[in-house]
Symmetry: C3
Subunit: 357 residues, 3 copies
């Protein structure tokens, strides 16, 4: 990226004060910025940096009044933070879109087809009969098994592994090391105490606009024709386990290291914090909210239920119980005290019967 | 796969009603099946689909009586579900065994030898002095370090990473992203508060018929000559942590995201649910059963113990305690009530002494 | 490695009894050792092995008195265990340093530079404008994104994935499958219930002497110019989640499967056990110790605090509460008993009023 300060000002609908012709090649924080870089000043408590920064340009509020000399050029805008963010997004897009073409060596099997504007990194592997849409970025060391279908604009970060027969939608982002479509954990006990693997013949279906975090694992469905399903707009963090035949509803968000057991159906717009465990064959109602480290053993049926604890129950009730849990030694002492007291009372108690003179 | 309906009927020991010569190239559910595909009907509640399905063939029970016209050919068998499953297994085998030969580029070091009927995917890496048995499938991006030995019929899914000196048995399946033989977590505290790494010189030994889930990690043993050991028939789910010098007994099954700390010996036929943590240097008796999210801090000595909670104790006792935990605010109220009551009583209590007129 | 017994004795400052010219090419345990191998005897209970071992040499204590004939040569030293360990470390170093040079195919982008004595494994990928120091080992399938900087003597095990712009220090060890610099989990809710990804523009900064376990994930910071920071000497185990903008202080040690949420600052010399969860935006004081499976929701402000439980509080208090938790059914029974007793008492209680004759 290299633009003149005037070009950047034009992009932002701002006004230049200073040398519009100077070139900018990087964004930086005002306290760190160097020549050739652009920064912004939004929070007044950072104002002193503007008098010492080496930034070639600083984006400031229209009505900014300098109290000392400033060596940087200024770009005057309505909202410097928003302008800087917009600039960052542009920069990020430029960076992301830089990757294109086919690096070598890379591998593509028989009968596979890719759309336009593809990036296929070195050492990426595409199996047989794979269909890949337009503008897909396949980073190095990605593995795509046979018969996989991938939509448009999807980004597969380095070393994503997609087993055969998986379906991935449009505009998905899958982070490094994620595994899609590994075998479900299904074994039939044998008479001698050993286990026989049950063939896992289903696949994984991921709809549009799904984000999947690094080293997260999504197992395939057990039966042929069935799918483990992640609906559109779902956001999965890192190191999550999604077992066979799970379905995750639209716009549900799940934080890191959570695990969902086989055949559970998670509703729409559910929010699940980190390190949660959900048992198998449950149905989680829409908009359920689950606190970190909770263990879900029963299906919450009412929408918007807030759960906490392991096993989990109502969040507020859990909080109330836990407050007392912390005081249990005190409760125990009070109970013991009462026992002593009532032991005395009992003795006394006998007296009235006796003293009914 | 392409067989005629008559050939499939012969495989299943069934009888054809219809066009035995028609070709089948895929299995499907009865409600989804298309021309060229075979489906089955077992559950009577799906019967209506058989009158509308486009399947070329449907497997039905011998005594099936059609109540309307059916356009598909039928294969009559004793148990349609079992027959369909058998067909699926065959299909799966055919698919799995399709992969063979050596894709390029792939890497094999000096002094390494592989058996017959090997698949070595593109970008797979085999170090020096590696020994690999017959019929082993090494998918793309697999890393096999120096001196590793791998038995027959083992499948290494994409990007399995096996550190130097590991031993893997026959008929194992290791899923994508699993790491075998990484350094144990051992550090010696130094005088200045820093830590020095203790060299990790042991290896990992995995016996026959072991399945290891995606992104699971098994660390090597600390001392030279020692091994972290996974005994025959063990089934490990995804994202599990097995620390240095752990031993896992025969036919033990461990669910996803569980972690076992260093030097713990897990017995045979133990069942460990998901997200369990087990402390170091414990001995877990055979057939112990551990509930999800439990934390094991003491060795269960009796076989077949059922444990739950963090820290864990007897499952039923934990359940009983937890029932009361949920009612703790009520208990607290009752206790307070009693305190009030007995406060009054005490006052009264004094009276009898006084009223002994 | 091949040295004569005499050479090894010289290295250890020991004295040879036997054939100093014989060659040694491997270390082994005394009970397993074969010809050409060296073992040691330290623990007297293993003494019987020295009379039957096939080891070419055994390291023994200076004052060792054989009670039977020994066929192995002996090396007499002050402390056989320490000597053997020293030998192992040497051996390990030799093994580690064996890897050097550039295996093909490997990929290096434009404008990237590497130092001297580099190992670049086959299928390793180095992006554009990457700077790599001296004596760095880059194993097969490692991915290094654009603009990454890596110091001297750092080891990247197979398939480590480092996103663009990350900074890695000197003497770091990163284990297989670890991900450095993946996107932080940040999404802005939209009016229609969907989420929009917030561009993640910061990076990850890892200082010197840091060890990172297999399949651990460290997300990048959110804002441009910000870093997720891992300070010098930090040791991270396997399968850990470090979210965006986290900072981990010097010499802190974290066990497997722990997760730290966004923007939390962990102090120096903190010890965190396995499967711990730490909420976002907290500050964890120096030398805090956190028990396994704990959930940290509040910032421990005092140095050296010991915490346990979920949510966590003082370790000893948690222990005391948990002891009573296990006895809750008994407490409940005692409470019920008191209620019965005081129900009677109440009846009696009325009597004194009545019996004031």
């Amino acid at each position: 990226m290299e633009f003149s300060i005037a070009q950047i000002a034009a992009m932002l609908g701002g006004e230049v004060k200073g040398n519009g012709a100077e070139k900018i090649n990087m964004l930086a924080k005002i306290q760190d910025a160097k020549k050739g870089q652009i920064a912004f000043l939004s929070n007044p408590k950072y104002e002193h940096f503007i008098y010492t920064t080496q930034a070639s340009a600083v984006i400031v509020k229209k009505d900014f009044q300098a109290r000392k000399e400033i060596t940087s050029s200024l770009i005057l805008v309505d909202d410097p933070y928003t302008s800087f963010t917009a600039l960052l997004e542009e920069y990020h897009k430029v960076i992301s879109f830089q990757k294109s073409g086919i690096e070598q060596p890379s591998f593509i099997g028989d009968g596979s087809a890719t759309g336009t504007q593809i990036y296929r990194g070195a050492f990426s592997y595409i199996g047989n009969k794979v269909t890949i849409g337009d503008n897909v970025k396949i980073y190095p060391h990605v593995f795509i098994g046979d018969n996989v279908v991938i939509g448009n604009n999807t980004i597969l970060h380095p070393n994503v592994k997609i087993y055969a027969d998986s379906r991935i939608g449009n505009n998905c982002v899958i982070h490094a090391g994620a595994v899609i479509g590994s075998d479900g954990f299904g074994f039939a006990p044998q008479g001698d105490g050993s286990y026989k693997s049950i063939p896992q013949l289903g696949n994984v279906l991921i709809e549009d606009n799904v984000t999947i975090g690094a080293n997260t694992v999504i197992d395939c469905a057990t039966l042929f024709g069935d799918s483990t399903i992640v609906r559109r707009g779902v956001k999965l963090d890192n190191l999550i386990q999604i077992a066979h035949n799970v379905e995750i509803g639209k716009n549900t968000v799940i934080a890191a290291q959570t695990g969902i057991s086989g055949s559970t159906k998670v509703g729409e717009s559910v929010m699940i914090a980190g390190q949660v465990g959900i048992a198998g064959h449950l149905v989680i109602a829409n908009r359920t909210q689950i606190g970190a480290q909770s263990g879900i053993l029963k299906s919450p049926k009412e929408e918007g239920t807030q759960l906490n604890g392991s096993p989990a129950f109502d969040l507020k009730d859990h909080f109330r119980s836990y407050v007392i849990f912390k005081r249990l030694p005190e409760l125990n002492d009070r109970l013991r005290e009462l026992e002593k007291k009532t032991a005395d009372l009992k003795a006394v108690n006998i007296t009235p019967g006796n003293n009914g003179q």
